[in-house]
Amino acid sequence: MISALIIVFREVIEAGLIVGIVLAATAGVPQRSRAVSFGVGAGILSACLVAAFAGELAGLFQGSGQEFFNATILLLAVLMLTWHNVWMASHGREMARELKAAGHKVKTGERTLLALSVVVGVAVLREGSEVVLFLYGIAAQGGTSASGMVIGGGLGLLGGAAVSALMYFGLLTIPAGKLFQVTSGLITLLAAGMAAQAVIFLQNGGWLEYFTTTVWDTSWLLKEDSIAGRLLHTLIGYSQAPNGAQLIAYIVTIVVIVTLMRVVPQGGPKRTQIAPKAHSA
């Protein structure tokens, strides 16, 4: 029961933090709960599929199918986070103005909801498939009683959900004007961390064998498999001993997102010709 609790808790926290950030980043956007629920649902479903076909997946690419799959979905999430941030940067200020002016619902921001459901789906899928395999293993062995597994798993799920809620409500205490900046920053770091993680999977698959030397080692300060290390790993991509390629991916992702956020004109490319007053929410 304890092992079920610990593993489920650990994985749920990791996905939950991402859900919390996405919820805070979309505060005030209508339909966002539906988009996030859709992402979670699709993620759980895909997690079960991935777990069921784990053997087939692992067998692809000379035994490195899993690495290929993980790298692909992580890079997909990075693209979606980038799109969200860039789109929000070009429309965000306008949204905030409209919110303050009329207090009515804002229609903008819905477009990147799809991108964020994908991100939520990927997060749930990655952590969820491990949970499914682990719990299935316990169930199949019959070592722990079924009730112990259900209680442990349930408690782990609740604990993880609580952390997720804490993240969300914690972020919501930030004044509305600053919230956008904070969530943009968090999403940028989230994307950078995911890009660095994708590089690891590409390295483990044997497809990226450059700059594999460790640049620094902070395992004496904070171990990556401690709880704090795991949280920071999920949130900002903390790595106790990053190698060159990891660092390059991390920095390049940040530079690309920040540059795009500044370069893409306010109001978005399609609206530059329209006078700002011409549309209303």
């Binding site: 092992s3 593993i7 784990a54 053997g55 692992a58 067998g59 690419f61 000379q62 035994g63 490195s64 899993q66 690495e67 290929f68 692909t72 997909l76 693209l79 498939s129 491990e130 395999l133 682990f134 299935y136 293993g137 316990i138 199949a140 062995q141 690891i200 390295q203 483990n204 698959g205 044997g206 497809w207 064998e209 594999t212 030397t213 460790t214 395992s219 171990k223 990556e224 498999d225 290390g229 790595s239 106790q240 001993a241 190698n243």
Partner: protein, 110 residues
């Protein structure tokens, strides 16, 4: 447009990646009754190596090591290739995350 590009990229990547192969003979490691055999694996420092993990148990486990930067699920009665980057001399613990009470091991690079 974006999705099409993505799909095209994925196909392109997949076709290229399929030709990647194992460079050297893998080190065989078995997982049975949630224990690794051998549980101490010696590799040459600063050289790549490949561990072929055979999971002889009925259920899946995850080969997990933060120091080796590997997280890999190996289903029951299946095998998985674990590639090690060139490692500086040292000890690198690993575990089977789903049964960490017994599934413990260490890579020693020297």
């Amino acid at each position: 447009m974006t999705m099409k590009k993505l799909a095209a990229l994925a196909i392109l990547a997949a076709s290229g990646l399929a030709t990647a192969s194992l460079a050297q003979a893998p080190i065989e490691v078995h997982l049975k009754n949630h224990r690794f055999t051998p549980n101490v694996i010696k590799v040459k420092a600063n050289q790549t190596a490949v561990i072929m993990l055979y999971n002889d148990d009925d259920t899946a486990d995850e080969f997990d090591s933060s120091s080796l930067k590997v997280e890999k699920v190996v289903p029951g009665h299946a095998k998985g290739a674990i590639r090690l980057r060139p490692l500086p001399p040292g000890k690198y613990p690993f575990m089977g995350e789903f049964h960490s009470a017994t599934a413990q091991g260490m890579v020693i690079a020297q």
